[in-house]
Each structure stands twice: as structure tokens, then as C-alpha cells.
Amino acid sequence: MKAALLWLSALALVAPAAAQPAPIRVEIEQFTLPNGLRVILHRDTITPTIATNIWYHVGSAQEAPGRTGFAHLFEHIMFEGSRNVPEGAIDEWFGEVGGAPNGSTAPDRTNYMQSFSASALELALFIESDRMGHLLPAMSPASVDGQRDVVKNERRQSYDNVPYGLADQVLTEAMYPAAHPYSWPVIGYMDHLTNASYQDVVDFFRRYYAPNNASLVIAGDIDVERTRALVGKWFADVPRGAAVTSPEVSPPRLEGAPRLRLEDRVQLPRIDMRWITAAAYQPDDAALITLGRILGAGKNSRLYRRLVYELQIADDVAVRQDSRQLNGEFEISATARAGRDLDELDRVIMEEVARLQREPPDARELARAVNQYEVGFLEQLERVDAKADALNEYLFYTGRPDYFNEDLARFRALTPSDISNAARRWLDAQARVTLSIVPEGRPELAVEGSRPVPNHDLELSPPQRKPTS
């Protein structure tokens, strides 16, 4: 048993060392153009690849109620060409240099990213600056209509035609007061997508797609000096837009503990509960992310171990803190095994939450969660596209693009009692929304006392839905 002995001694050395790995080094150059565009450059020559990543500081939270889905529809319009880039050319030109341009829309921001052969740096800057500065001349009602249909199919494919796919929307609607910026789904409602007018699209671009509301990261096999000059060449003449101000929104408070029930074409019932929590990078955010891992990541996590491994009353469990600018959301969901009732899952989940509120986790549980978080950090540093997005994320939420070590430090500094304090502060059993999704015709499987949500017309905005017959 030489191997086993070797292993024991190695582990003894390794566990404490895990607390202090070497600092992470991501060298950057940053500057701001006179038009307000923030620029961050990072050189990494492992492969001849460059990633560009732009965050526009606008997301679904900036949409007007009654105009949902707009930020995301606009994201699609950004791929339809600009004054000097013909329709279809963005994908064609990036495709020729190995790139697959993409974008994503979230409540807080919209990003545009691609990684491509290092031969195409200037081409990428030309394309990104052209659609930042010269989009409107190329836009037409027809191009908006085309993407309207694509987005409707994206909604069908990602939400309406997916088992449990409507959970996020139903919970989102129940968690916030009607006009709150986080109270509607990013993908939007079908009737709003239909009604979005060409003029709405124009106004949206003018208001939000300006250099002073964006940040550009270029990471990869670049010459920093030359890149800096090329960014100036292509972006300096894009005119600054009017200052964008975000309305002050006071953090919502969930009143009571609403329980909802949705019947769906599913085999197994699922419970999904959410709380309103700390905002991204604010105090308790790291503790809540870590709490999520202690509850739900890996075989030894509290909920996986009890629900899936020991009691075997659930088929899966997922827990996470979704960190955003105005507030976070903490979510626990679990799919029941056949024949199990969601009251049973709810009881066990809340027992485990209460236990962590009462007693801090042990040091090893915390170390497991933090060490797993750290390996994720290293993996992110391997890829230029991941680093580019992280630099923009840090800039947006903390004002500091090179926040890597500070970010890690907030996890390394956590103590077991930070975790239980955060659980006590944020996971009030009486201030959460609980959704039961149950097979059609099996309402008795839902958490007791749940109010039915009509299971038709959910693709429409709430005022357009017909009452249950």
C-alpha cells in the first residue's frame, strides 16, 4: 500500500497550501477615448487568436414596460449590417478568419464577442466601429421584421418548447412589482415583439449604443502599441452620445411567501424557489455564491447529498446566486423522483437552509467550495474569449477591469460564519417565491396551498392572457 501512504502524506501537505496559491497575473493596458469609449487591451500569445468583446451598458432592465424583449431583439439587429458593412458580411467576414460572432443579452448589459485568427485585428475593429457609429443607414423595417421572426423562434426553442422552460418567466413575474426593471423575461413577450416598431429600434440605438455607454476589450495575440493606434483610428470619430442615466430603483422586498403552481407537459414535478439577495460584487455576494455551492455543487453538497444521494427523493438539484447590478436572486430548484410530492422536497430543502442559518458549515465544506471556485478561475484564464468577457464584467460591476485577485480574495477571506450570516440575512423562509411545476392533471403534487398559474398564453404579456376558462 505504498501508493495510499504516499497519497495521505501528499494530501496533508496540499490542503493548507490550497489556501494561498500564487497571485493571478493578467496584464492590461487601458485608456479612454475622447468620445468616452473605455478600452482594455490584454496580450496573450498562446495561440494566434484574438478575441474582441464589447459590453454595451444596456440590457432588458432598461426596456420600457410594454416594450419587453427589445434589448435582445436589438442585439440581433446588430448583426444585420451597417453603413459600410453589407448585410450578411459580419458573419461572412468573421467566418473567413475562423470566427463565429455572437452576442448575448442580460438584464444589465448586452455583449458582442468573437474570437478569430490574429490576422484580422483591423477587420474586427472596422466592423465593430462601423456598427457602433453607422448602424442606422443600413437598418430597414425589413431587417427588423426578419429578426423579429428569428427571435420569436428563439423564444419557442429556448422556453416555450422546453420542459419546465417557463419557470424562469413565471418566477420573474412573481418576484417583482409590475414596473420593476427585473420583472419581465429578457426574451420578452410575443405581443411586445410583434408590436416593436421600427422607430422604437432607431430610438433605442440612439439612446444606448454610444461609445460613452460601452467598453471594448481586445485580448490575444496582439501588439499592444499597434492595437492602441488602430482603436484610435477606427473608433475616435464615433460621436459621443447623450449621457445615459439609470433610474434609481430601491431594492424590492418580497412580501409574504407566494406559492404558485403551473401544470406542464412533464413527467416529474419540479420545485423552484427564489429569494431577492445581494447585488453583484456587493457584500454577501461571494458568501451567497459559496453558499450555493455548499448547498448544491458536488456529491457532498448538503442538498445533493440528502435529496439525491441519501433519501433519493429527487432526480437533480441546482442552487445558485444570480448576481446582478440592482440585486441578486438566489435560486434552489429540484426535480422530484416519480411518485414524490413537492411538499416533501420543500420540507427537506428548508430544513437544510435552516440548519445553515443556525450553524456555520465546517471549514472543510467551505474549503471545498472555494477551491472549486479557484480552479474555475484558472480555466477562465486559459481562453482569450473568457478573459475578455471577465475584464468587461469586472469593469462594469466594480469599475476595475483587472479585478481578478480582488475577486478571488473575497472568496478566500470567507469564514464559515459569513456563510451562515448570509443565509440568515437573505434566505428568509417567509420572503421567497415558490413555484411548483407539476404534470398536467396532477395539481396535488404541488406544494400545499399553491395558487394556480394559467398554463396557456404564457408567451404573451400578462394583460393579453385570457382568464382561465
Partner: protein, 481 residues
């Protein structure tokens, strides 16, 4: 600080000046710089005394290491009545080993900040470990226990059995899974290793025992039936003692390579329509038997399929998404395996336009037999060649490429030749393979959607015989649990 930053600061003091920033010439797209070459570190090959082949690639930019142990023990080895044994054997390895239980094994990797996985695929079972290099020595002995000394605890098999049966139940909700199961069984037949479920069907899952798994492990999990790929912040000499300690005591055993017979090609056109009432979209798949990875047409086929459905500007994506707005995305691809795997084109389309979408799919397949413009061929070549280096950024990406090389027995110079081979595919090659492999008259069409609405649309197209099915005809009745 540099000149440009100073300029920026000066301009910043005088906002009006920004308006006069010199506009670049936007009338032409900028030229590309010379294409830089990807230079990979050499691939080192070693052999342990027991026949375990080791492939090593150094990568020292980050203190990470990835290890993939690849065993020629995939579901193609499964026997009738015991389907799922290969993948269950793999899944059971970390449920108990060398006297330590599943939770203790998982705890070890988690505390080390390691990502460990083990699972069975069609042709291979793979054990993977990604870990900060400082903790490789601590993690490897546990990997060794899991691979060499699994305990196969009966209680854990019961748990996994129920998980798998629950997975079969949940497939009834998933239109993509229904289409995949149906396509496999219809194309290859349920007796063929590619036509049955690698995860096991209900009768097999109920029947499988710990003894089956232990026997499978004993027979196939042997060092001379395996290759170990290791990539990262290590050197061949430095890592060798660790590998010897972990795997040197693994006993060799004679294993004949797995052989899969080619399946017969689809003849004629048949439409299989699975009813999923109320579905917001129809999952559409058009499929036939493709080609083995060893084909000399590999590069030409990659370029040809890229034109048809392998990138965003492909014909299928442009037609079905951009021109018609029928879908969020359409694509096609060859699943090249040691024996010919499927070629599948597909999309999820809005229910009300299912017939029209199917017509466009057929139009695009037929159009592949007409002359293909040279610039489309050039674009596809360039897309494949230029995107190739990206996979080599991460230790996991490199290890995945090397694992592919092992499965298909590709020569070591494969990576360095890839770009040149792709760029040398000619226009004539592409047109030839399009005619040879894309056959719109001999293929099967699979549709999963709301039959009431889509059947009349599809019938009107007169594409061929329509066989209507219920979900249970494809998946069997939901397992009783």
C-alpha cells in the same frame, strides 16, 4: 504613457475637438495581416512496462494539467440484454474504490480543486482529471484507485439504476431526445451498436448486476487497451514516476479491438412523424448513413458540409433562419466514427411552417448537386483552417484533440498538417463529395411535433411514405417507477 493616451487626454479637455477626429477610410474593408502559424509543442509518446501508451504535450503558461485516460470500452462492446453495461461500469467506478465510498472519493477531488469525471461513450470510456499541477501528485493515486480497484457497491448500483430509469422517463418530455433515439434506431436498426441506446434500455437496466459490471471491467479496463493523454505544466521525465506509481501496477490483459460493421444505407424516402400535441415547434431531422472517419474524403467532406450547414453563413442557416425566419438555427453534420455514423441535418421550426421548412431543406440538399460557387468553397476552407488553432488554448481542448487522434488512430503529424490539408481541398473535390454523399432521394426524415397541425402540411409535399408514431412507439412505455 504613450502618444495616443496623451492625445486622448488633450482632446478630452476640449470636447469640440472630438468632432474633428479624422475619419478613417471606410469605403473598403481593411486588409488582413499575414496569417500567423500555430506552432504546437512536440507530442511525446511513451509506453509503460504494462503496455499503457502515454501521449504527453507540454504547456507551461498556466499551472494546470489535464489527464484523459481513454479505454477502448465503449457501448459498442455491450451485449444484447445487457445494454448500458459499458457506461454503467464507467459511472460506477467513482461510486466506491479501494474501500472508500463515493462521498469520500468526491471529497478528495473537491478539496484539491480538481475536476474529475468518468463516463462511457459509444467507442470509448474516458477518465478525466483537470487539476492545478501542484496537486497532481495528490490526485493521481485516487484516480489509480478508481481505475484499478473499484468496489462496485451494490447499493450504489441500485441508485444509478433508478437514476437511469428516471432518465428514460424524462426523455418523454424532450423532443430532441425523442428525435435522436428514433433517428438512431431507424437508420441503423436496433441490433446495430449505433442504433441502440448506450445508456441502456429498460429491460437491460433492470437486469444488470454488479457481477456484469465487474466482469466488463476485468475484461476491458486493461492498460494495453488504453491510452493516457496528459497535457499541461509537466515534462515527460517529471511526470513519468507519478504515472508509474499510479498505473504501473495495472495488469495487462488481452483485448481484441472493437469492430463495428457498417450499416446498410437508407433506401428511398420515409417520413417518421412523432406526435407531440401542443408543441410550439417541430424538431426536424433529415438523416442518412454518413461515412467513417478513416475516409480519404475527410477534408473535402468537412468543407462541403461547412457550406451546407456547418457555419453561420451556411446555406441552411441563411435560408431557414435569415431568409425565411422559420427557425432560430439550422445545421448539418457528419458524425464520423470508426464505422460510418449518421449524417444529420436539422432545425427546430415553428409548428405552423413545418411543411414550408421541410421544402427548403430539400431545396438546399438538391442545390448541393448544382455547381457550387468558388467563393463559397474558399470561405468554408478558410473558416475551418483559421478556426483550428482556437482549440489549442486550453489543456482540456488540447487533450480533447489528442483523444480524437487516439480514437481514430490518426498520425502524430495530423495537427500540423490539418490547415494545409483543408486549404488544399479543391472546388472539384467539394462538388464530387456533395454528389456522392448528399442524396435527397434516399434519406429518412424525422419530425417530432404537433401531428394535428403538421401532418396535413407534410402530406401535401408528397415526399414519401409517412409513418405516424406516438412517443411511446419510439421510447417504449414510460418505465414504472
Amino acid at each position: 504613457m504613450t502618444k495616443l493616451l496623451i492625445t486622448a487626454v488633450l482632446l478630452g479637455t476640449c470636447p469640440a475637438a472630438a468632432l474633428h477626429a479624422q475619419a478613417p477610410d471606410r469605403s473598403r474593408r481593411p486588409a488582413l495581416d499575414p496569417v500567423p502559424e500555430l506552432t504546437l509543442p512536440p507530442l511525446e509518446e511513451r509506453m509503460l512496462d504494462n503496455g499503457l501508451r502515454v501521449l504527453i504535450m507540454e504547456k507551461h503558461d498556466l499551472p494546470l494539467v489535464q489527464l484523459n485516460l481513454i479505454i477502448d470500452a465503449g457501448s459498442v462492446r455491450d451485449q444484447e440484454g445487457r445494454l448500458g453495461v459499458a457506461s454503467l461500469t464507467a459511472d460506477m467506478l467513482d461510486e466506491g474504490a479501494a474501500g472508500r465510498d463515493a462521498l469520500a472519493l468526491a471529497d478528495t477531488f473537491e478539496i484539491l480543486g480538481a475536476r474529475f469525471g468518468v463516463g462511457g461513450g459509444t467507442h470509448q470510456s474516458v477518465v478525466s482529471l483537470r487539476v492545478p499541477v501542484a496537486r497532481l501528485a495528490a490526485a493521481l493515486p485516487v484516480v489509480s484507485d478508481i481505475v484499478l480497484r473499484p468496489d462496485f457497491p451494490a447499493a450504489e448500483l441500485e441508485r444509478l439504476r433508478k437514476e437511469r430509469l428516471t432518465g428514460l422517463l424524462r426523455q418523454h418530455d424532450e423532443p430532441n431526445a425523442i428525435a435522436a433515439v428514433l433517428a438512431g434506431s431507424a437508420l441503423f436498426g436496433k441490433a446495430h451498436p449505433y442504433g441502440r441506446s448506450g445508456g441502456g434500455d429498460e429491460p437491460s437496466l433492470r437486469a444488470v448486476s454488479v457481477a456484469d459490471l465487474a466482469a466488463f471491467h476485468r475484461q476491458y479496463w486493461r492498460p494495453d487497451n488504453a491510452t493516457l493523454v496528459i497535457v499541461g505544466d509537466i515534462t515527460p521525465d517529471g511526470v513519468r514516476p507519478l504515472l508509474e506509481a499510479a498505473f504501473g501496477g495495472w495488469e495487462r490483459g488481452p483485448v481484441a479491438p472493437a469492430r463495428v460493421a457498417p450499416a446498410g444505407q437508407v433506401q428511398g424516402r420515409t417520413i417518421f412523424l412523432v406526435d407531440k400535441p401542443g408543441a410550439a415547434q417541430t424538431v426536424v431531422r433529415l438523416a442518412r448513413i454518413g461515412v467513417a472517419r478513416s475516409t480519404p474524403d475527410y477534408y473535402a467532406l468537412e468543407v462541403m458540409n461547412t457550406i451546407l450547414g456547418g457555419m453561420f453563413t451556411s446555406r441552411l442557416m441563411q435560408n431557414l433562419r435569415e431568409t425565411h425566419g422559420y427557425t432560430y438555427g439550422a445545421s448539418s453534420g457528419f458524425d464520423m466514427r470508426p464505422a460510418p455514423g449518421p449524417w444529420i441535418a436539422g432545425a427546430a421550426v415553428q409548428t405552423s411552417v413545418t411543411g414550408a421548412a421541410l421544402t427548403e431543406f430539400m431545396n438546399e440538399l438538391r442545390r448541393m448537386h448544382q455547381p457550387i460557387p468558388e467563393d463559397e468553397v474558399a470561405r468554408a476552407r478558410s473558416y475551418l483552417a483559421s478556426g483550428f488553432p482556437r482549440a489549442f488554448q486550453s489543456v482540456a481542448g488540447i487533450a480533447a484533440r489528442l483523444s480524437d487522434m487516439v480514437l481514430h488512430d490518426l498520425p502524430p503529424q495530423y495537427f500540423n498538417e490539418y490547415t494545409g490539408r483543408v486549404l488544399s481541398v479543391t472546388h472539384a473535390d467539394v462538388e464530387r463529395v456533395a454528389r456522392a454523399y448528399i442524396d435527397p432521394d434516399n434519406l429518412s426524415i424525422f419530425l417530432v411535433g404537433d401531428r394535428r397541425i403538421i401532418e396535413p402540411q407534410v402530406r401535401a409535399l408528397e415526399l414519401g411514405e409517412i409513418r405516424t408514431l406516438e412517443i411511446a412507439d419510439v421510447l417504449g412505455p414510460p418505465p414504472a417507477l
